[in-house]
Symmetry: C2
Subunit: 209 residues, 2 copies
Amino acid sequence: MNIEYVLPNEIEKRSFEIIDEELDKLGIKLNSDEELVTKRAIHTSADFDYARTMTYSNDAVKIALDLIKNGADICTDTNMTLAGINKAVLAKFGGKAFCYMADEQVAREAKERSITRASVSMEKASKNSKPTIFAIGNAPTALITLKELMENGYKPSFIIGVPVGFVNVEVAKELIIASDVPYIVNRGRKGGSNIAAAICNALLYMCKE
Amino acid sequence: MNIEYVLPNEIEKRSFEIIDEELDKLGIKLNSDEELVTKRAIHTSADFDYARTMTYSNDAVKIALDLIKNGADICTDTNMTLAGINKAVLAKFGGKAFCYMADEQVAREAKERSITRASVSMEKASKNSKPTIFAIGNAPTALITLKELMENGYKPSFIIGVPVGFVNVEVAKELIIASDVPYIVNRGRKGGSNIAAAICNALLYMCKE
């Protein structure tokens, strides 16, 4: 193996060319609307499983782009996703990204009620006065709480449901897929804070173009 | 599928039980020193490939734990990894975590020299007066630069080499494996800022016990 000389500003382009070549080899043709989002999930994980498991509601990408362009906020369930989201691009459209996981009051309330901080964070975020895109990369309990809030009349603008793991992750994602909220969900156990940030950034870069 | 009721403080324990069951099914027996680190990489990605590709130099975990217990710093190549590292535990041992990727002077110099910000960040970090563990979750160029610095006499204390992607990722990891630095590397294309943070946290939690 030798080092391939690629200029810094060409690395991402070259990476996406390689992803295209590999998808071709696997015989996978992505839906054109969704292609840039799924490919950015692959780019951030080098895991081609995402080409088969990423699931979109009708017109999901179009709806998400309209929301961002109209200044929607993004609520995440991890500070890692918050760190990864391109907040400068989001701010250009009037949106802000936020995460309540490190909020002391959220931690206290979660402990008192024996529920997760992610669940309390969702309840708190549901009071945001602006349209809100939820980008969930870690906690299935965040999705379960969002579903409960929806049953009580709350309407999240959009859910990016890509928690990762082994306890209630798959069932929580199916709850969102079965609901009437617009969504991008990665079916199965995989996902993560990096995937949630990658999906947000793919959408943000599409808005910028 | 039904929601399994698990108390918040039991979710992680239950997750690791499921990971153990799956590893058993796959017939994989991890080395006992390395087990908690590899399992935390699986926990953060739900990707069992890590059980086969995580690669450790001799006594890597023991060396890393000694470094942390003696106050070593951790330098990362992404703000997402920085956000994910449990900095409170690190601080208890006297270490701090840092990342120069958002440093304006680093960005300027990278542009002038047509190299990546990750490369300039590593040069800057090599001047840290304290023993430094490098946790690289994104940029293979960070590993290539660390290798060049080593050829010029610099001794990183430890390298966690888990960049992700398609351009020079595999070759950069092999450079570290072939060097004489103590390392934890994930061979192949996979890795990421989440994996880098998970490895750091696995080590930190082992120090705490």
